[in-house]
């Protein structure tokens, strides 16, 4: 069996999707989104924002409390088996059996999907080669590194040639080499095989590099959506940051920079300002510093990032949100312990 083609193409449509847990907050609170066929959609947000809960619902692993969603043209509640036949998923925790080898995992996965015996072996070998695991294919997965497990998980998700691929934080905890290799494979899948990819991540760079469009989720709500460039342009004024050669000049430096726009966060020795007039003001900044006789050690122009977008939409940075979520979790744990 290979992936089913739904009546409305291969995209994802979500309307008012809600998931409420018992005695808990709404993990997902009425989100709306649409992912076109062949698109890589990045779902960005801090831990606990609702990313994984959304994925669990869209992959039919968790029923929604309210709202509807169609994946590959099939309703996630009423047509679960058809949704599952159309999708592949690599969830946050790679669901692997440490007692099986990679080849045995492929055998299991292809059999679960009902591929014929001869096709199972060919497909398994093909995918193991593609993710660079053919040399380690007969080793037990218990001895694999995190990157190898992630690559195997991806290969397993592709066993039945799904038209839609869900990747839930696929590179969390991976070293840069493994991360880059996974990005390349995901990009290739979308570009060469037309696979629609729904990718959740807490890494700004990942969303920026891979995704054609990004949805930013916070506390169960989508707070922004668009192409990374459009989102950055929407809020974006570049920031100029400078470090004076003499530390005592930092005050004067800040005053000069603020002629060009409001001050911005900067490293301890530096001063920064958001350029109201855009990048073209950089030459004016240099001239102004020169005329004031302020010697500069370094001068940098920062383009707006998705973190700036997150900051503009939620009032806090993505990293700050991570820490906040962490604190909330710790406080909740302490409350439980105390209770």
């Amino acid at each position: 069996m290979t992936a089913e083609q739904g009546p409305d193409g291969t995209g994802i449509e979500v309307e008012g999707l809600v998931r409420e847990f018992k005695n808990g907050p709404r993990a997902v609170d009425g989100i709306e989104l649409r992912v076109e066929a062949g698109e890589i959609y990045g779902f960005l947000g801090p831990n606990g924002a609702g990313k994984s809960t959304t994925v669990l619902m869209l992959t039919t692993l968790l029923p929604p409390t309210a709202g509807t969603a169609r994946v590959a043209g099939f309703d996630i509640v009423r047509e679960g088996p058809r949704v599952r036949a159309s999708i592949g998923a690599a969830l946050q925790e790679a669901a692997l059996d440490p007692l099986l080898t990679a080849r045995e995992h492929m055998r299991l996965q292809t059999a679960l999907h009902g591929l014929g015996k001869s096709e199972r072996q060919v497909r398994g070998q093909e995918l193991l080669e593609r993710v660079g695991l053919s040399q380690a294919a007969d080793r037990k997965v218990g001895g694999y590194s995190g990157g190898m497990k992630r690559r195997l998980d991806l290969a397993l998700a592709l066993a039945h040639r799904p038209r839609i691929l869900f990747l839930d934080e696929p590179t969390t905890g991976l070293d840069i080499q493994s991360r880059t290799a996974l990005w390349e494979e995901v990009a290739r899948l979308a570009a060469e095989e037309g696979v629609t990819v729904f990718l959740t991540t807490q890494y700004l760079e990942e969303a920026d590099t891979l995704a054609g469009r990004v949805g930013i989720i916070d506390h169960g709500h989508i707070v922004a959506e668009g192409t990374p460039a459009a989102l950055k342009a929407e809020i974006g004024r570049p920031t100029v940051e400078a470090v004076p050669r003499e530390a005592g000049e930092r005050g004067r430096l800040a005053a000069v920079l603020e002629r060009f726009g409001p001050g911005a966060a900067a490293s301890p020795r530096a001063a920064a300002a958001r350029l109201e007039g855009g990048e073209s003001q950089l030459a004016d900044v240099v001239r102004a510093l020169d005329s004031e006789g302020i010697a500069i050690e370094t001068l940098q122009l920062h383009a707006p990032s998705l973190d700036d977008v997150f900051l503009a939409k939620t009032g806090r940075s993505l990293e700050g949100a991570e820490e906040e979520e962490q604190e909330e979790t710790e406080v909740a744990a302490e409350t439980v312990d105390a209770g």
Partner: protein, 265 residues
Amino acid sequence: MSAAAAGPRVARFRDVALAVAWRSVHNFLSNPAFLVPAIVFPLFFFVAFAGGLSSISGVPGFDFPSGYTAFQFVFVLLQSAAFGGVFTGFAMARDFEIGFANRYLLAAGDRRGIIGGYALAALTRALITWTILTAIALAAGMEVGGNGVDVFGLFGLAVLTNLAATLWAAGVAMRVRSIQGGPLMQFPVFLTLFLTPVYVPLGLLSGWIHAVASVNPVTALLEAGRGFIAGEPAVIALAFAIAFALPILFAFWARGGLKRAEAAG
């Protein structure tokens, strides 16, 4: 449902069940930590009960024609059938605990096939254990008074007991979704098994244990099984009615557990 529509559904169930069973049996056979206890425990019970307690056969009123070894063999056979099912429930709970069950839930065209696969694996494991147990019992001089049909009946009861226990444990495993549910799977089975005429015939029990064993449905399975091995079949209709009813009842229980697991995510 038309036959055409039923075909793919049956195929989906079969594909999933065979795949799940393959993994369970593969892990069972390739890991001594799983394989050895599953074989050694029934053998230990058999040796301990049939060997250590063999003088019970001399007690007045003990009139089992095939002797004490055969008398205990039937209990150990049914016990291993039941505990084999429970241990499969442990494996299932562990799969939920480590997240592996998500792989099954995501890939399965028919999720009921997951339960079917575990049940198939439990039966395969039990058949391996029974083969060794029977070989050792025969080598130890066990007398079999029954004919081929009787022996078939005995093992038929064991198969149904194994299925019932697997479905019971699966229902618990999918509700608790943690290995911490192990005692909940095991304890009722342990209690039900040992509140039967384990060491002596029902007629030699007295007091509350006799009262409980008389109404315990597993007593009928045990009595019928012992009747088969002795070649003097007894309470067959009741035993098979119970043996078929339990898996049907626990199939609903397991299906309910699957729905709970699906809803919990």
